[in-house]
């Protein structure tokens, strides 16, 4: 049975049908890339799954439970973690504290007013940081981290929620090519080890073909192709709208 089942998702802005009848499934441990030219409806699709936008129609089910239209907080509680295109971390905290904060929230210990937060889940936080390769930087301020490290910190924070589904919006935007592959291979490894399903949008085709199990191609709000890297590469419709522009090497 699939972990995430999206059926007939629709969203219109004014007269523009941004997402038109999109359906797909995602299994535990699977990495699914959502690609398409600019304006194809990737982010809209993404934000409807993540709770940032309510869909006009359709259903989003996580392990059979309907989550469409819930707010981001409720969706987090259902076990969905996410990273943002523009990194969002807690700037007044150290790297470790960022992860501790996520762990505190996950364990429902937010409304405690007495015992210091610094000692809560420190070991668990360090373990997560070690997994993303930030163990040495645990004491540093997030404000001084390199951009690639910030992305990895976001990943650790998202994992702090012990998610079953991870949503990553343009996880490698703004990174150098070598860093991109490293981050996504790390994500790939974590997904396999922890059985976490990953849905991500991405512009870099090398990254997409390298790490994803399956690829969804959106164009003008509609799903035009679905399959593994080889199938997508060979798909004439995809070539027509997307790869045919000669942008196969990345970018858009």
């Amino acid at each position: 049975m699939s972990l995430l089942a999206v059926r007939g998702l629709r969203k219109a802005f004014g007269g523009v049908q941004a997402v038109d009848d999109v359906s797909f499934d995602l299994a535990a441990g699977e990495m699914l890339a959502l690609i398409g030219p600019n304006g194809a409806g990737k982010s809209t699709c993404f934000n409807m799954v993540g709770g940032q936008l309510p869909p006009d129609a359709g259903s989003v089910r996580l392990e059979g439970r309907e989550i469409a239209g819930l707010n981001p907080r409720a969706i987090a509680a259902h076990g969905i973690g996410r990273t943002f295109q523009i990194t969002a971390t807690f700037g007044s905290m150290t790297v470790r504290e960022n992860v501790q904060m996520a762990l505190i929230a996950h364990h429902g210990e937010v409304w405690r007013f007495w015992r210091p937060a610094a000692v809560r889940f420190a070991a668990e936080a360090d373990a997560l940081l070690a997994q993303v390769g930030l163990a040495e930087q645990a004491e540093r301020a997030t404000g001084v981290l390199a951009y690639g490290d910030l992305k990895r910190l976001e990943l650790a924070v998202a994992l702090g929620n012990a998610p079953r589904l991870l949503l990553m919006d343009e996880p490698t935007a703004g990174m150098a090519p070598a860093e991109r592959v490293a981050l996504m291979q790390l994500t790939r490894r974590l997904a396999t080890e922890r059985g976490v399903a990953v849905l991500f949008t991405e512009h870099d085709m090398d990254v997409v073909f390298d790490v994803s199990d399956r690829i969804l191609v959106l164009n003008r709000g509609a799903l035009i192709a679905e399959g593994d890297a080889a199938a997508i590469r060979a798909d004439p419709a995809v070539r027509e709208v997307y790869l045919g522009t000669g942008a196969a090497g990345g970018g858009h």
Partner: protein, 614 residues
């Protein structure tokens, strides 16, 4: 019926015109520079005084009157230019709150300058005969001058519309209002644009002040009363929107005119309630747009770490010194120290809201006042003893904060600050206007501690113990999971929601806790002074709290404590040593904002950490 409505309507429209003149300047300045200019009311006040000086020297014919008014507007425009060049130009990059504080420094300075130049007596303009004329409308005699005023509002709106839509300069102003960064990227000389916008805004403020002369007088209360009304109009209309300011002026002007007839006790409350309701349904005002996200990343708040041991020892030593003060200082200094203890709690409570909570309150004195009146009224009605009064004060302030919080936690930035200011003005208006219960201006008197606590030393110890204990509890809370979550919600609301934090709920609880702590400080203050007065809730008192927090430093836990002590000491020295204490205080604020934007504790922290943190 009609003959009752029409005169009030006309009076309201005349009031609306004056309001619009001042508010239009404020909203244009805000639109382009993003500065909430507290000193705009002071420019109106200067307009009134300058207008008085100019008009009383000119012949009394209408054409000279018009010339004099225009000359006044020109003079205030020049003063505005000077203000922009000397002060504001240096704070455009500073955080919003510091800009506001800087303009409040200007308010203080201009107050003393005006007092020094024109003296404390209010100056009415002797009205020439043509100004005393009446027009008969529906059987009512209506002052000619009010009709002139009614006409001036739409005329000025029309002229401004032409200026904004038919000139290149106006196009730039509109573009900058929509997207300042983009205009800068296009290579427009921002300095010139800002200075000229400020000149226009200041000129409009001066025009408003001068035109109000025939109906009122030049007096030293204009600055704060005008600025509060203008804030309301600008916020209700939508920050940066001229048309919005016009609609809101009409709304507020008419509301005030009818309010005075229908509900004379609660006009002020009515006005601020309208503002609160508008902000709840339209968080960006009637015609305002959502604020464009600033593209430049704000400097990230520094990491808050536990205080180094040296600082703990210093704190402990200070506390021991403070506790032993009654053995080695006189009674006068004991009262100053008591004030200091109260100020400490007041500042620490605001810091919870503003620092970790990220909600800049311009009306923190409201909670102080609610606590004070809760204790005072209980003592008056039920003869409640002091310990119960000190218990009831934070509870009352906390309950009101919970009710008010429903409105406030969904807003952000300037709108949130303005709503807190509006709320404080509502509370102030109730304390001032509801004479039957609160004693109005005379306050509630005879609120003294019981005999056992009445000695200066005993009461000081009580105040010190309670303030320090609550401050330590709040500090403890900020290092606990709740404090971290609150800070997380401030640092990144989207990230906080994505890990399952309830941002609004977190902020709400912070507001209640901060309100309750401020309420306790208000009650402590009242028992020390023997009474409760509306001035506890005044704007200057709210600004005092802001000043203490920013003086000490917003991003350190010790900041508000240092700020409260330094401010109390400074104010005491200033008030005793010079008549021009406002001027000196204003200058100190400006210096602080320009030289130490991170506050005393923040600067100390930076020096301490230099080279210790990668």
């Amino acid at each position: 019926m009609l003959d009752l409505i029409v005169p009030q309507l006309l009076t309201g429209l005349a009031g609306a015109s004056s309001l619009f003149l001042v508010a239009s300047g404020l909203t244009i300045i805000f639109g382009v520079t993003r500065i909430v200019n507290f000193s705009h009311g002071s420019l109106t006040m200067l307009g009134a005084y300058l207008g008085w000086s100019i008009l009383t020297r000119l012949p009394r014919e209408p054409e000279w009157f018009i010339l004099g008014i225009l000359l006044t507007a020109l003079c205030t425009a020049l003063i505005g230019v000077m203000l922009e060049l000397v002060v504001l130009r240096r704070v455009y990059r500073a955080p919003e709150l510091f800009q506001l504080l800087a303009t409040f420094g200007v308010v203080l300075i201009l107050q003393d300058v005006t007092l020094w130049l024109w003296g404390p007596v209010e100056l009415p303009l002797p009205r020439p005969r043509w100004l005393r004329g009446f027009v008969e409308i529906l059987g009512n005699r209506f002052p000619l001058y009010d009709l002139v005023l009614i006409a001036i509002g739409p005329v000025v709106l029309g002229l401004l519309w032409l200026l904004m839509n038919r000139t290149r300069w106006g196009t730039l102003v509109r573009a900058a209002t929509l997207d300042r960064d983009m205009v800068a990227a296009l290579g427009v000389d921002q300095r010139l644009l800002f200075t000229s916008v400020f000149a226009l805004g200041a000129g409009l403020a001066g025009l408003g002040g001068a035109l109000s002369l025939p109906n009122a007088s030049a007096n030293l209360q204009i600055d704060l009363s005008v600025i509060v009304d203008a804030f309301v109009v600008v916020v209700v209309g939508g920050l940066g929107s001229l048309a919005g300011a016009f609609v809101a002026s009409l709304l507020i002007g008419i509301l005030q005119a009818f309010g005075i007839v229908l509900l004379p006790q609660s006009t002020l409350v009515l006005v601020f309630l309208v503002m609160a309701v508008v902000l709840v349904f339209r968080p960006n005002g009637l015609l305002g747009r959502p604020q464009a996200e600033a593209r430049e990343m704000l400097a990230a708040a520094p990491v808050i770490r536990a205080a180094p041991p040296a600082l703990r020892y210093l704190g402990l030593a200070t506390l021991l010194l403070a506790a032993s003060a009654p053995f080695w200082v006189g009674d006068y200094y004991l009262t100053v120290l008591t004030d200091g203890a109260v100020a400490l709690l007041f500042a620490v409570s605001l810091h919870v809201m503003m620092g970790p909570g990220g909600m800049a309150s311009f009306g923190h004195a409201a909670w102080f006042g609610i606590g004070a009146y809760a204790a005072g009224l209980l003592a008056q009605w039920l003869g409640t003893p002091m310990p119960l009064g000190l218990l009831a004060a934070p509870i009352a302030a906390g309950i009101v904060a919970a009710l008010f919080g429903w409105f406030v936690v969904r807003l952000s930035g300037v709108y949130l600050s303005m709503l807190t200011l509006a709320f404080a003005q509502i509370v102030w208006a109730i304390s001032f206007q509801w004479v039957g219960v609160t004693g109005g201006d005379n306050g509630l008197l005879g609120l003294w501690p019981e005999a056992w606590a009445r000695g200066a030393a005993t009461y000081y110890w009580i105040a010190l113990a309670l303030s320090v204990a609550v401050a330590l509890l709040l500090r403890r809370m900020l290092y606990a999971p709740y404090g971290y979550a609150l800070r997380a919600a401030r640092d990144s609301a989207v990230r906080a929601e994505a890990i399952g934090l309830d941002v609004q709920h977190l902020r709400m609880v912070a507001l209640v806790i901060a309100g309750a702590a401020a309420g306790l400080s208000g009650a402590l203050f009242s028992y020390a002074k023997g009474g409760v007065f509306p001035t506890y809730i005044s704007i200057p008192h709210s600004v005092e709290a802001l000043l203490m927090v920013l003086l000490g430093g917003l991003q350190t836990m010790a900041g508000p404590i240092v700020g409260a002590l330094v401010y109390t000491g400074l104010a005491d020295i200033l008030v005793r040593s010079t008549d021009l204490w406002r001027l000196v205080l204003g200058a100190v604020i400006l210096l602080l904002v320009m030289a130490f934007p991170e506050g005393i504790a923040g600067a100390a922290r930076r020096l301490w950490l230099r080279g210790r943190e990668a």
